[in-house]
């Protein structure tokens, strides 16, 4: 029996390749993602060691919440105390800041998409000069080798650098490697600007203070003793940590980043596997159908049902073993390719060995074997039921599971899936449970739909095929009937495509809703005339531009009011849980932004003692106007704030709002996220001409002062709306491109199924050719059959995606999505694209069909 199974596989090489290809792709992606993230992690761990080497102990202020850079500065005085502690060889104060943006030779600010723009005080154990010399005077800076070479920065030239509070001209004194003397290890496009210490303190807004003190322990001294002595000397307001702790912190920072990145990739890999599973299952079903007569003969010759079903399972297992092996091998290659792609895309990663961990292999085997064996269980069970008569009868058909049962099972799965999905989206679960229940729900809905869809696949295929038949005559008619003839096959082939398109459509609906919400907010609750923000700043709330700009814009004659805004992600703590915080000028009230205040008033708030709350947290905290909310800041301060106003529109204000004055008191981040300005005498009631004239003159005046700030962008309302929409669009396109991967696999599936179907219909094709179907007509009929199946899958997918998208849009907090909007145009385009993709997928099978020898085809069994 085993020999027969093996023979079966080897005899039909093409079929074998088709079957294995999808499993190989699934395994390949999983392995590629694991290997890539493991390799990156290993190199980052090594990098963390390199960076922190040479620093024995670090003195800094403790931090419970907020960002690393939110630590309270260590004053000069503490450094002086520390240096006097016995066993301390030397103390180096260090300064670091974000949003230190270098502009290149032509004045373009160098702003990577995502990675930070960091400013440092010169630090000899991390920076290794390769050209020029380290910055020594207040007008010099140095930068890392990658930033320099990518942007053609030349030692000796003068460049503009923008810092947290202002911007200045500096001469590039030198270029350095970060982390390693021989190779620049700055990460993922981060730009670095280093200054001599006192210049850094001044420019990076750390007057007479440091972010932290690096302590070298004297040789011979016991580091533990020194650490204790230092801790006692600097007092309770500061902490002393060892090199080990710093390395681990850096590693865990990197890890957090890698995990997000790896999880996103893994999600895509799993989607790929899921889609592959559909195709594999489909392939096994078809192959079994082709083998019914042969298996019947075996049964007639005395093989038991169990033996027959075991032979089917055995074939699947062999496909699994083979594909897993090939998949692991190709996955290693994929990891390398991905790495080079990331590098080519400006996302530089430290070099290091490719890491293949045991866990990766176990996972790959589980995926590869699991998917194939699971997919073949149903076909194997059906194989057991094949009667010996199958060998004798002419038109052999597998017994079909009854439609009634199919509908029952499918409906149950779909309903269960939606329940799980609803639970995940609306029950307020934790992230892990949410993801689990949502993805399980999604999987159930997909499978359930595929189980159900044969019930209507024939009718729908006929409807889709109707215009094709009209258009192409007999080939069209054949395409239509072939798509309709085996609803199960059509359904499971379409199923793979359905998944991909459902995900893309869902992303489309959510994206469109976000856009709509944004535009509505802009139209209804934003009255400001101008928006000033960082060039290239996406949705990254840590970007910012010099605070000085606010002052300068407010001095422009035409400008009547300027309001600055900050945002802190997870930066305050209320009742023990961390929250985002948004800031504004209370005195401006609702002049520029109206969050729809329902109680109290913004202007009545005391800048240093009040807070504004969205109605939801107000309700959760059980507070109303005049009550006190206790807020903890990153600097450790715990402050009772009186609720001054409660509002309902959180699209811009988020949930918690404090005044800029309070922000500046507790945060080390003077740079602004954005600012708004309004023009004297401007109003929407003015005649349009007058409006335009006012806008033109004021724009010129404002740009007059902001132009010198390379990193700052001034936009009027229309421009602001456009640029924000463009940003959302490019984000959506990125997601869509990733999801296209699933579509790609689905297309392989279509090609695969079609090739098998063509093979199965050899005689029929021979007959058609004999009675005069030309090769062209034959190719055309195969291609349009694929198009019909694709459109069927696309319609299911877009339908499901629409439902998912609307559910997700409703579930997403009002901050991001308030109104649900559907991009009908894009959805229609997806269906058309699916049809075209189907036509393309059919090219090879169609060619194969056309190449068949008519006589051999007629004579074939």
């Amino acid at each position: 029996m085993f020999k027969l199974t093996l023979r079966n596989l080897l005899d039909r090489k093409i079929r074998f390749v088709l079957t294995t290809s999808t499993v190989v792709i699934g395994v390949m992606f999983v392995v590629g993602v694991f290997v890539l993230t493991d390799s990156i992690r290993t190199s980052f761990d090594a990098l963390a060691n390199d960076i922190e080497s040479g620093v024995d102990l670090t003195v800094r202020s403790p931090l419970d919440i907020g960002d690393e850079l939110d630590r309270v500065a260590v004053p000069q005085g503490i450094a002086e105390i520390a240096v006097a502690v016995p066993g301390v060889a030397s103390i180096d104060g260090r300064v670091v800041a974000r949003n230190t943006v270098i502009s290149d030779g032509v004045g373009e600010p160098i702003i990577p998409r995502g990675p930070p723009t960091l400013g440092f005080s010169w630090f000899p154990t991390q920076f290794f000069i390769i050209d020029g010399h380290q910055p020594e005077t207040p007008d010099q800076f140095a930068t890392d080798a990658t930033t320099a070479s990518d942007n053609d920065l030349v030692v000796g030239e003068v460049y503009t650098v923008s810092g947290p509070t202002d911007q200045r001209e500096f001469t590039l004194s030198g270029i350095f490697n970060f982390g390693d003397p021989d190779e620049n290890k700055s990460i993922a496009g981060t730009t670095m600007a280093a200054f001599e210490l006192t210049t850094a303190q001044d420019f990076l807004d750390k007057p007479d203070s440091f972010n932290e003190l690096s302590v070298a322990v004297a040789s011979g001294a016991d580091p533990v003793v020194v650490q204790e002595a230092l801790a006692a000397a600097v007092g309770d307001d500061f902490e002393v940590v060892t090199q080990r702790v710093k390395v681990e912190e850096t590693q865990s920072d990197f890890n957090a980043f890698i995990s997000i990145f790896g999880n996103v990739l893994l999600a895509f890999a799993l989607i790929a596997v899921f889609v592959s599973a559909f195709i594999i299952n489909n392939t096994f079903q078809i192959i079994l159908g082709q083998r019914v007569r042969e298996l019947g003969l075996l049964r007639a010759l005395g093989a038991t049902g169990r033996q027959v079903s075991r032979s089917v399972l055995g074939e699947a297992a062999m496909v699994g073993v083979f594909s897993t092996g090939v998949g692991i091998f190709l996955g290693l290659g994929l990891a390398r390719v991905l790495r080079s792609l990331l590098k080519a895309g400006g996302f530089s990663l430290p070099d290091g060995p490719i890491e293949l961990h045991a866990r990766t292999i176990i996972f790959a085997v589980a995926v590869g074997m699991g998917v194939t064996v699971l997919s073949s269980i149903a076909p194997a069970r059906r194989a057991r039921g094949i009667s010996p008569m199958a060998a004798l009868s002419d038109s052999v058909r597998l017994t079909k599971s009854g439609l009634g049962r199919r509908i029952k099972v499918g409906t149950t799965m779909v309903v269960l899936g939606w329940l799980l999905l609803g639970l995940g989206l609306f029950a307020g679960l934790g992230t892990k449970q949410l993801l689990l229940s949502v993805s399980l729900g999604g999987v159930l809905i997909f499978i359930g739909t595929t189980v159900l869809s044969p019930a209507f696949a024939t009718q729908i295929s006929r409807v889709i095929g109707w215009p094709i038949q009209r258009l192409f005559g007999v080939p069209g008619r054949l395409a239509r009937e072939n798509a309709a003839r085996s609803p199960r096959r059509t359904s499971s082939t379409a199923g793979a495509l359905m998944i991909g398109l459902a995900l893309v459509s869902m992303a489309g609906v959510v994206g469109q809703s976000i856009k709509k919400t944004f535009v509505d907010t802009l139209d209804n609750s934003v009255q400001a005339d101008y928006f000033v923000r960082s060039t290239g700043a996406g949705f990254d709330p840590t970007t910012g531009f010099p605070a000085q700009v606010e002052q300068l814009v407010s001095e422009v004659d035409e400008v009547d009011l300027v309001v600055g805004y900050h945002f802190g992600l997870d930066s305050i703590s209320i009742n023990g849980s961390t929250k985002n915080v948004f800031t504004t000028d209370f005195s401006a009230g609702t002049e520029h932004m109206d969050p729809d205040v329902v109680a109290g008033s913004i202007t009545s708030g005391d800048p240093l003692g009040s807070i504004l709350l969205h109605e939801d947290p107000a309700e959760d905290l059980f507070v109303c106007i005049g009550d006190t909310v206790v807020v903890q800041f990153p600097d450790g301060a715990v402050v009772g704030l009186e609720v001054a106003a409660i509002y309902t529109d959180s699209a811009i204000f988020d949930n918690y709002v404090i005044d800029n004055a309070l922000w500046n008191e507790h945060f080390n981040r003077p740079e602004l996220l954005f600012l708004t300005a309004s023009i004297t005498g401007f109003s929407d009631d003015l005649p349009e001409e007058q409006q335009l004239a006012l806008l033109a003159s004021s724009a010129e005046a404002i740009r007059g002062v902001t132009d010198e700030f390379r990193t700052v962008n001034v936009e009027n309302r229309v421009e602001f709306r456009q640029s924000q929409q463009a940003q959302l669009d490019s984000f959506l396109i990125t997601i869509t491109v990733f999801l296209t991967l699933a579509l790609f696999i689905a297309l392989i599936g279509i090609a695969n199924t079609l090739a098998l179907s063509v093979f199965e219909r050899t005689r029929e094709i021979g007959l058609l050719r004999a009675v005069g179907l030309t090769r062209r007509q034959l190719r055309r009929s195969v291609r349009w059959e694929a198009a019909i199946v694709s459109v069927f899958g696309a319609i299911l997918g877009v339908g499901l995606g629409l439902a998912f998208g609307v559910a997700a849009a409703i579930a997403i907090p009002d901050t991001a999505v308030k109104t649900v909007a559907v991009p009908w145009g894009s959805l229609a385009i997806y269906v058309v694209v699916a049809a075209i993709a189907g036509l393309i997928a059919a090219i090879l099978p169609a060619r194969r069909a056309a190449r068949m020898n008519v006589l051999e085809a007629i004579a074939s069994e």
Partner: protein, 252 residues
């Protein structure tokens, strides 16, 4: 059988002609000479049977005459067209427009209804069937009430009748049938043969049929015998007995 013997062909035009045709399969050691210097003509308006032992080259000759296969040497002329000079596409169109087929089994496209199968060659050509002729054919086949059925819903005999109707529907110059009754019981087989004979008599069609069965052959106007790729006998106005006699002679 008296009807048979008294029949005279309406005309003596040649529908198909094979001139010094060789068809070899394989090369060297494994070379098979399936057809070996065949010279034969098939008159228009006649029903010709091809007989011969298994492996004698009957199917091969038919395939070559019908433009389904290429020959090694010689030439084949269908109604004035030399097939050896035609491209693959031209051959396909020739089959579609000028030749009809009936195979032993699996004659119909399972996704199309009986009527659609019948009109398939014309639909492929994009020409409208001659409705009157079509009705005549369908009436003669006796399937008027089964036209909307799919092949799966028809019996084997009915399927073969639909296949003959398809072969006739476009009034081809020539119809080839390879053991068309091979899969049928004797009653359905007789019906089929009778039908084919009427098509030749009453509708002036030309049919070349391959068969093993002397009774089937006796429905025809002429029997050509093949052995080892050569024509070894040619019998006019056959009866089952004369065919059997000829077969016995050849067997010796």
């Amino acid at each position: 059988m008296t009807l048979l013997t008294t029949h005279l062909p309406a005309s003596e035009t040649i529908a198909a002609r094979a001139i010094a045709v060789d068809k070899f399969y394989g090369k060297g050691e494994t070379e098979v000479r399936a057809l070996n210097g065949i010279d034969v003509e098939f008159e228009q308006g006649r029903f010709t049977a091809i007989m011969g032992p298994s492996g004698s080259g009957k199917s091969t000759l038919m395939h070559c005459l019908a433009g389904l296969d290429r020959i090694t040497n010689g030439s084949i002329v269908i109604g004035g067209t030399d097939l050896t000079s035609l491209s693959e596409r031209q051959l396909t169109l020739l089959r579609r427009d000028r030749i009809g087929f009936v195979f032993q089994a699996f004659n119909l496209v399972p996704t199309l209804s009986a009527l659609e199968n019948i009109t398939l060659p014309m639909d492929l050509a994009g020409v409208d069937p001659d409705q009157e002729w079509l009705d005549t054919v369908i009436d003669t086949v006796g399937l008027a009430d089964r036209l909307s059925h799919r092949p799966g819903e028809l019996s084997g005999g009915q399927q073969q009748r639909v296949a003959v109707a398809r072969a006739l529907a476009s009034r081809p110059e020539l119809i080839f049938a390879d053991e068309p009754t091979g899969n049928l019981d004797s009653t359905s087989g007789a019906e089929m043969l009778d039908f084919m004979r009427r098509a030749v008599r009453e509708m002036d069609q030309t049919i070349v049929m391959v068969t093993h069965d002397p009774v089937a052959a006796s429905y025809s106007d002429r029997v050509v015998f093949l052995a080892d790729g050569r024509i070894v006998d040619d019998l006019a106005d056959p009866t089952p007995d004369s065919v059997l006699d000829a077969m016995k002679r050849l067997g010796d």
